[in-house]
């Protein structure tokens, strides 16, 4: 596998300008000769499809939802970062770049991160022009708030629904292009494979979820904007349909997969209290600005929180990280919660929870002030837990939320398969080993509005039209494979449901490849996962047919791919013998339990190449060079 990141030469500040000048252009009349397929209609996919159509390309956009307004980008609450420096508090492109590289624990590519910071300001302008109702000051100008991992206020927001409003802006732009005929929108279709022939992506294979019909489509380039893989854990904050099928299929067709073990598990989720829970819900980390995190000092404490005196409480974040206290970064706070629960001091019916207590803040600021700041989050908590957080402390526990790993892409966002692109959470490029809050929305829209529309033109101008149509033999072959696979899922005739396998897989991943990992556990997972997978293919039950809406069949296909992908994640976690960002290996920590990174050996991205016949994938490296942000240990003590 050849890994050429194609990072332009020169100082980091000039790389993108220089590259934009050097890239080939396609004249407007010729753009309409090219067809681009965009898979996914979240912030990255929707913005890319709309922008490419605005430029004149013929675009097909595929989503398994009933409408391009539903993707899980919509659930993001907190906000979107941009280096506008509207607050005059010392922000700059350089500072956003620096914070992102450092926050990512020095495992991201500098050139990509710098470009992300550069285009961030234009995203806000674009969204305002589309009518996104961002929060404003009384003078009519845009408001900002601060977020974890930064000392400036650069986060733009629309109450607690920023993701929704950005996605609706993007959906509006896309709708305009659908109306103009430049985008053919394909709702309720799921991509089940990628067609690669002669060293170039040629198109896709999809299943119409209503009719069950499996069809092929040819294109000059294919863009995957299919999101992350946190649902490999079964319980995550992702939407129920989020899956890894498209990226796993792309991986099997030759696209390198980078850093699959980098997953983010933030601390402020509502704990699961029932074995029938189907997902977890994240509350904004802004709650930690005023809430104090604690557990009882004693193990097996049975008293209600209000009955436990101050002297018998352990405010463990304040104790361990006196300078950052309750605002310690996500990865660190989450691990600390796990430690106290492992000690038997967790709270709630399952013992997997810690208190987030607002009593002091309410005493200090009054109930009204707290309600004005966090009212919607308190309502949400009450709705789900049935408890009133104004009266009793919230209970929180970490849950998987975001995945920094993804398909490897070069500076142009192209995977190792020419003509196949990955954007948004589906790629690996900008967040390293840990993502800062309010940066996911920024990256999705940066890729879709301002990066891909330039870089894809350079490829198309050099490579020319694909010339293969969907009746070429290579399409028929992949279509047959897909049909056979679907038939196989339907015909196993076993006893266990797709969900039951998914739940079992999730437990293994959570125990062995979750917040803390170690060699023995990962090796154990690599034994357990293939066992579950074998059982899946022998004892799966799917009823109904393949020629109609069949949600059990959809789930089965997604679980099958998670079962394959989970093994890769564990393999990556096993090989990365250091602790960095969201990846914490218990063997590599200080005596006080802090992460120990190994820059000598692991200052690289690990890229995995799939092998035929169930052979172990090959691990490649992209060495990371830090010319602008100097390698340093993160400390929050």
């Amino acid at each position: 596998m050849k890994l050429d990141a194609k990072i332009p030469s020169g100082p980091v500040q000039q790389k993108w300008d220089k590259h934009r000048f050097e890239m080939k252009l396609i004249n407007p009349a010729n753009k309409r000769k090219y067809r681009v397929i965009v898979v996914g209609s979240g912030l990255a996919g929707g913005s890319a499809a709309a922008s490419l159509a605005e430029l004149g390309y013929n675009v097909e956009c595929v989503t398994y939802h009933d409408s391009p307004r539903r993707a899980h980008s919509i659930a993001a609450q907190g906000g979107i970062n941009a280096a506008k420096n509207y607050q005059n508090d010392g922000d700059s492109v350089w500072r956003l770049f620096y914070d992102t590289v450092k926050g990512g624990d020095f495992r991201a590519r500098e050139a990509n991160v710098y470009r992300l910071a550069q285009v961030s300001a234009a995203i806000i302008d674009q969204c305002v022009a589309q009518g996104v109702p961002f929060a404003r000051e009384y003078g009519g100008l845009l408001d900002n708030r601060s977020f974890g991992g930064a000392q400036v206020s650069r986060t733009f927001y629309a109450r607690g629904q920023t993701g929704q409003q950005l996605l609706l802006g993007c959906y509006a732009a896309l709708s305009r292009q659908i109306a103009s005929g430049k985008v053919k929108m394909r709702n309720r279709e799921e991509v089940l494979d990628i067609v690669v022939e002669g060293g170039r992506a040629r198109g896709i294979v999809t299943r119409n979820l209503v009719t069950g019909k499996i069809t092929t489509s040819a294109a000059d380039a294919v863009v995957l904007a299919t999101g992350g893989y946190a649902n490999v854990f079964y319980l995550s904050t992702n939407a129920k349909a989020c899956n890894a099928t498209a990226v796993v299929r792309a991986w099997r067709r030759g696209a390198g997969f980078a850093n699959p073990c980098f997953t983010q598990i933030p601390p402020t989720c509502i704990p699961v209290t029932d074995e029938h829970a189907s997902k977890t819900t994240l509350m904004s980390e802004s709650l930690r600005n005023d809430g104090r995190v604690w557990v009882p000092l004693k193990t097996g404490e049975k008293r209600a929180p209000g009955q436990i005196p101050e002297s018998e409480r352990d405010y463990y974040l304040e104790r361990r990280y006196p300078s950052f206290g309750n605002l310690a970064p996500r990865d660190i706070s989450s691990r600390a919660a796990k430690v106290v629960c492992d000690e038997g001091r967790g709270v709630g019916p399952t013992g997997r929870g810690v208190y987030l207590d607002f009593a002091d803040a309410i005493k200090r600021l009054g109930k009204n002030a707290i309600s004005a700041k966090y009212g919607n989050l308190f309502d949400m908590y009450r709705n789900i837990s049935g408890e009133d957080p104004y009266e009793v402390p919230m209970r929180i526990y970490p849950a998987p939320h975001y995945t920094m790993g993804g398909l490897w892409v070069d500076y142009n966002l192209m995977t190792t398969v020419p003509g196949l692109y990955a954007i948004g959470e589906a790629n690996f490029s900008d967040h390293g080993a840990n993502r800062l809050g309010a940066s996911a929305l920024m990256q999705g829209l940066a890729d879709g509005y301002f990066v891909l529309p330039y870089t894809i033109g350079d490829f198309l101008a050099s490579a020319g039209p694909s010339k293969l149509t969907a009746d070429a033999p290579c399409f028929a072959a992949v279509q047959k494979e897909t049909e056979d696979r679907t038939k196989r899922l339907l015909s196993i005739g076993g006893k266990q449901s797709p969900d039951s396998f998914h739940i079992r897989l999730g437990k293994v991943m959570w125990e062995r490849c979750g917040m803390a990992r170690n060699r023995a556990g990962l090796e154990q997972a690599l034994v357990e996962i293939p066992k579950i997978r074998d059982e899946f293919w022998k004892d799966l039950r799917v009823v109904g047919s393949g020629t109609e809406l069949n949600q059990t069949l959809e789930k089965a296909g997604r679980v099958a791919d998670f079962l394959e992908f989970a093994e890769l994640m564990c393999l990556d976690a096993l090989e990365r013998e250091e602790s960095c960002g969201g990846h914490f290996r218990e063997e590599y920590q200080t005596s006080e339990g802090e992460a120990v990174r190994n820059d000598e050996t692991f200052a690289h991205s690990a890229i995995w190449e799939w092998q035929e016949g169930g052979k172990r994938p090959i691990r490649h490296k992209e060495e990371l060079e830090f010319e602008n942000v100097h390698l340093a240990t993160r400390s929050y003590k």
């Binding site: 913005s47 922008s51 939802h65 009933d66 409408s67 391009p68 307004r69 539903r70 993707a71 899980h72 919509i74 659930a75 509207y86 234009a122 302008d125 674009q126 969204c127 305002v128 022009a129 589309q130 009518g131 109702p133 961002f134 404003r136 009384y138 003078g139 009519g140 100008l141 845009l142 629309a158 109450r159 929704q164 409003q165 509006a172 732009a173 709708s175 305009r176 659908i178 939407a239 129920k240 349909a241 209290t273 029932d274 029938h276 829970a277 189907s278 819900t281 709705n383 789900i384 049935g386 509005y449 301002f450 529309p453 449901s497 969900d499 039951s500 039950r541 109609e548 949600q551 059990t552």
Partner: protein, 257 residues
């Protein structure tokens, strides 16, 4: 708790549907309504029967995918709540719960509780946007927007496009949905250039999709999970009438200077 469910089952758009009765036993009060249905579906699958098809995704009340009428009310008995955020503690042992799909001429049933809401997308395509190509925008602070306007735009923009307003309306009208978008963009300076075209285009498309007219029942606002105010319908009517009158006025021809 133990519950009896009467669920609408329908194999496809052109086959007749019927209510089927299922028992849901030992349901925990801590789970959500959809998790209760997950449990019923797991049992049906175990018995070799087809699970109930229903739509859902984020399960956080924001994506607008879930869509079911529970005991005669879209999204169920709790005000301002989507079906996915409805919890079983709202029910009690022995309850009989009826579950139906959205029922409206413009939302044909695909299967069981799943309906086709693509008419909403087609309405948005007729003007529910601001024409601003990527890259063409001025600085985000170039045009100050008074906070009350920005807030009013936000209130209307909170619509999740679920279709409960249509399901709740005796006329199957989409006016709350259309009004929400017209109001959202109409409160912003960026939305002014296309304001007339938007009102005309979206209302005409809603008619073409066979949504009914508004006759002021206000059931839509009552059942909207995001509690969109019915005043957006009045705003839309105002925009529509003004646009219709302006459209009949002779066009000004620009001078050659």
């Amino acid at each position: 708790m133990n519950l009896t469910l009467k669920v609408w089952r329908q194999q496809g758009p052109s086959t007749p549907g019927r209510f089927e009765t299922y028992e849901a036993k030992g349901v925990s009060e801590h789970i959500s309504f959809l998790e209760m249905l997950d449990g019923v579906n797991e049992r049906l699958l175990g018995e070799g029967k087809e699970p109930i098809a229903f739509e859902h995704d984020c399960r956080e009340g924001i994506c607008g995918t879930c869509s079911m009428v529970i005991n005669g009310e879209p999204h169920g008995p709790v005000k301002g709540t989507t079906a996915c955020q409805l919890h079983m503690r709202m029910f009690s042992d022995g309850n009989v719960i009826t579950i139906e799909p959205w029922r409206a001429r413009a939302f044909p049933i695909i299967k069981d509780l799943v309906v086709d809401r693509s008419a909403f997308d087609r309405i948005i395509q007729k003007g529910g946007f601001i024409s601003a190509n990527a890259g063409s925008a001025p600085d985000g602070n170039a045009v100050p927007i008074p906070k009350p306007d920005a807030d009013a735009a936000f209130e209307a923009a909170a619509c999740i496009g679920c279709g409960a307003c249509v399901a709740a309306c005796p006329n199957g009208s989409a006016m709350l949905f259309v009004g929400a978008k017209v109001s959202h963009l109409g409160h912003l300076p960026q939305g002014q250039p296309e304001r007339d075209l938007r009102a005309l285009g979206m209302v005409q498309q809603a008619d073409a999709e066979l949504f009914g007219n508004c006759t002021n029942h206000y059931e839509c606002g009552e059942h909207c999970p995001k509690e969109i105010d019915v005043k957006v319908i009045a705003e839309m009517n105002r925009d529509f009438v003004r646009a219709a009158i302006r459209a009949e006025e002779p066009k000004q021809v620009a001078g050659s200077g």
